[in-house]
């Protein structure tokens, strides 16, 4: 189990006063949540094995309220954490007992769409999917597509620099954000960037996107929209071994003819998803690739033929192409509900998120299965294979005493393998609390100190979403297994 920072007793003692003050500065009763029952709704996120009921929650309706709450927390030394939909898989939205949760889900308006410039201005609490839905009839869409896109908010995407299946072609969140309204811990409201490409001065957007909500709170976002492709079609390729499928991915990527998405599922994942959604996956296959190509009908035919030939060359045992929009949607529905499907066959699971060089896929997969066998855990692999972003799901039953420690050790070994292969500990989920103690696998104390110096500059009292990203204790990885000063740079 991860250590969580102890709550500050002196803050908890002031709870009633803080509630009175917040109610006064909001000027309303209904935006402040104080009852233990309602606060339970904010105790966890997508990393549900960790739960802490926060001290209070505020549901902000506009930027001015966010600024007022942050200024109050800064002046009165109260820990505070912004929260969107709470879908983080890394504990990014896990509060502490002394935390005021600053909920942004009420700020869910699409403020402006400019078709000519292919931009949209939205509030932070708008869901990822709703941006694309709102601009669909203009022939545009917002490209980064985390699997939780129906629920997750753009504010959360900005905080975590979220990815998704189609980021293989289009890039991740940071490549699609043009401007933000940023509220500092002191309560200053600063417009950063705008509607134009890039921004003058320092790349503050580059710094804020992916800083896990530790530097300030984003309340509005200007996103770049992309023209929708004429059409897109996924192909399913089944294989007799996960290693063959991994080799196929590496071979396709090496040609440079990048499909829009290449998703990988191994047998446990295929069975779970098929049972859950009936998407038509080949249940006799050991591994499955979903490869999507897009463009005009003519382009699609050419690229599908190429992908099919590559799959057959690497021993595909079954190939099927989505015949129509409904079957294409079913194929993606199966993939995007994969985590929910695993939840149906296993009481609990821990989702890893390491990224590796694509050419190392077959080798790393083999090592992951071996690690799972050694610990006695079944591991389902579902991931964005085209960019090497792996999601091994370690299945377990939390009713077994002490099991979470073993699961986390197992996960730590998998992350070691990813780093040793030239990869990283998190590709798109973020560090949060979950991978906090593994940061030394990639970074020296001085590397981390440079990041912390930035955090201190923006939040000198370390009040904003603290206890995350940086290790509280030494890493749990056995000493000598990996030298944290080696590897990546």
């Amino acid at each position: 189990m991860l250590n969580l920072p102890s709550p500050r007793a002196e803050v908890l003692d002031r709870r009633q006063q803080i509630a009175r003050d917040l109610r006064a500065l909001l000027g309303r009763d209904d935006l402040l949540i104080t009852s233990a029952n309602e606060l339970k709704g904010y105790e966890t996120d997508g990393l549900a094995c960790y739960r802490t009921v926060p001290m209070l929650a505020v549901l902000a309706e506009d930027t001015a309220q966010v600024a007022a709450v942050l200024r109050y927390c800064h002046d009165n030394e109260v820990p505070v954490m912004a929260r969107g939909a709470g879908t983080s898989l890394a504990g990014g939205a896990l509060p502490q007992q002394d935390t005021v949760v600053l909920g942004l889900s009420k700020m869910n308006e699409i403020l402006e769409v400019c078709a000519e410039n292919q931009t949209a201005r939205v509030q932070a609490g708008v869901t990822n999917r709703n941006i694309s839905t709102a601009v669909d009839d203009l022939g545009l869409f917002y490209a980064p597509d985390p699997s939780s896109q129906i629920a997750c908010t753009i504010g959360g995407n900005v905080a975590m620099n979220s990815g998704g299946a189609h980021c293989l072609k289009y890039g991740v969140t940071t490549n699609h954000i043009l401007g933000v309204t940023f509220v500092t811990m002191e309560g200053a409201v600063v417009e950063i960037g705008g509607e134009a490409f890039d921004l003058p001065g320092y790349d503050l957007l580059g710094l804020i996107v992916g800083a896990e909500g530790q530097l300030g709170v984003v309340t509005e976002v200007t996103v770049r929209l992309m023209p929708k492709p004429e059409a897109a079609r996924p192909l399913l390729a089944g294989f007799d071994s996960a290693l063959d499928a991994g080799a196929c991915v590496a071979a396709i990527m090496a040609t440079g003819r990048t499909p829009v998405a290449i998703e990988f599922m191994d047998r446990p994942a295929i069975l779970a998803c098929e049972r859950f959604t009936g998407a038509g996956y080949p249940t006799d296959a050991q591994a499955l690739l979903i490869i999507e190509v897009e463009g005009s009908e003519a382009e699609i035919e050419i690229e599908l033929a190429f992908v099919e030939a590559m799959a057959r060359e690497h021993g595909a045992t079954s190939i099927s192409v989505a015949e129509d929009i409904v079957s294409a949607e079913n194929i993606w529905k199966g993939r995007k509900s994969a985590f929910g499907a695993i939840g149906q066959i296993s009481p609990d699971y821990l989702c890893m998120d390491g990224t590796i060089p694509v050419t190392k896929l077959p080798d790393v997969l083999e090592q992951i299965y071996a690690i799972g066998d050694r610990y006695g855990f079944e591991i389902a692999n579902i991931f964005h294979a085209g960019d090497g972003n792996m999601h091994p799901l370690i299945m377990y039953d939390s009713h077994q005493p002490g099991v979470l420690d073993r699961v986390e050790d197992c996960g730590a070994e998998i992350l070691c393998v990813c780093v040793e292969a030239g990869g990283c500990i998190t590709g798109e989920h973020g560090v949060g609390i979950e991978k906090r103690d593994h940061m030394p696998l990639m970074f020296s104390p001085e590397d981390l100190e440079q990041m912390k110096a930035l955090k201190r500059g923006f939040d000198p009292k370390w009040l904003l979403n603290g206890g995350k990203v940086f290790p509280l204790t030494e890493t749990g990885i056995p000493a000598g297994q990996i030298d944290p000063t080696q590897g990546l740079h």
Partner: protein, 316 residues
């Protein structure tokens, strides 16, 4: 970075040698460790540059001249992964020759500014070329960096894979910081198949560069016509109109920063007589809120204000 060996690079002729900022002889170092040691052992302000192709942009820097052009060579190249790492002083021509053997290109088609710029210079200035819309700016293609901070520590951030959110995105934050935050010593970037290059002419760009003043204006694409209304000097457009180049004869174009801002964009003066930039600078003026955030970032990386002090803005 430990253990990676820089490949040998063909020896340079005199004509290749870097132009040096402000006419002084710049000190060069052949290893990042040596340069970091120099930063630790000295105390004065440093005027940092690469190969000097963009030395004419920004306020002139008072300081001991240091170039990264001695940090040379490709350190990591996996053509099948589309990832390349190189020391900051490696010339673009060297990178492009290595990439061409595998039918690959740099994704951000950096303009040459009349020279053979270093990779570090392109990343530090974040000035990319024609393919911004499809392939991104330099900042969109940076995966990792080794750098020296103001305390002379040799640090790393990011990595070698395209999806990586392990810690703050410092490599991207260093893009476009013009050597005022850190000294980039090695950079890992994405590269792309040659087939993804989209040739884009910018008619009129040569005429723009023939002018004594050249502005590079980024703005929402539907406002290019408003910027160009009544503009009789040379101009050119890229990125479907969201990048406009303006050439001007005299300081009559002094209000371009204001005009760009009024249209929701921003401008950089990329060519101007020395006496003009010495007085007016080249970078877009910023709001007081952004200025305050920038000072915090500067203080976190370079608390002693030793790296290119005042090159972008007087307070950085």
């Amino acid at each position: 970075m430990a253990g990676s060996q820089a490949t040998a690079e063909p020896s340079e002729t005199a004509a290749d040698s870097p132009e040096v900022l402000s006419g002084a002889t710049a000190e060069a170092f052949s290893t990042p460790e040596a340069l970091a040691g120099f930063v630790r052992e000295t105390t004065e302000p440093l005027a940092l540059g690469g190969r000097g192709s963009k030395a004419g942009i920004g306020f002139p820097v008072e300081g001991r001249a240091v170039t990264t052009s001695g940090l040379k060579g490709i350190t990591y190249f996996e053509p099948q992964e589309f990832v390349l790492g190189a020391r900051a002083g490696t010339r673009l021509s060297v990178l492009e020759a290595a990439l061409a053997e595998h039918d690959l290109i740099l994704p951000f088609s950096p303009p040459r500014f009349g020279g053979d710029p270093s990779l570090g210079g392109v990343i530090a200035t974040n000035i990319g070329g024609a393919e911004r819309e499809s392939l991104g700016a330099p900042r969109d293609n940076v995966l990792g960096a080794q750098y020296i901070n103001g305390r002379g520590e040799l640090l790393k951030a990011g990595g070698r894979v395209v999806k990586n959110v392990s810690g703050y995105d410092l490599p991207r934050a260093l893009c476009g910081s013009w050597g005022t935050l850190a000294i980039l010593t090695e950079i890992t970037i994405k590269v792309v198949p040659k087939a993804r290059a989209v040739a884009q002419d910018a008619p009129g760009l040569d005429a723009v560069w023939a002018s004594p003043f050249v502005w590079r204006v980024s703005l929402p694409r539907d406002r290019a016509s408003a910027l160009l209304a009544g503009w009789s000097s040379p101009s050119a457009q890229q990125w479907s109109g969201s990048l406009v180049w303006l050439g001007a004869d005299a300081a009559g174009a002094n209000d371009i920063h204001e005009r760009a801002a009024a249209l929701g964009g921003h401008a950089l003066l990329v060519q101007s007589p020395d006496e003009h930039r010495r007085e007016h600078g080249c970078f877009q003026p910023l709001s007081t809120g952004v200025q305050a955030l920038q000072r915090q970032v500067k203080a976190a990386f370079d608390p002693g204000h030793r790296f290119n002090p005042g090159r972008m803005y007087k307070d950085l």
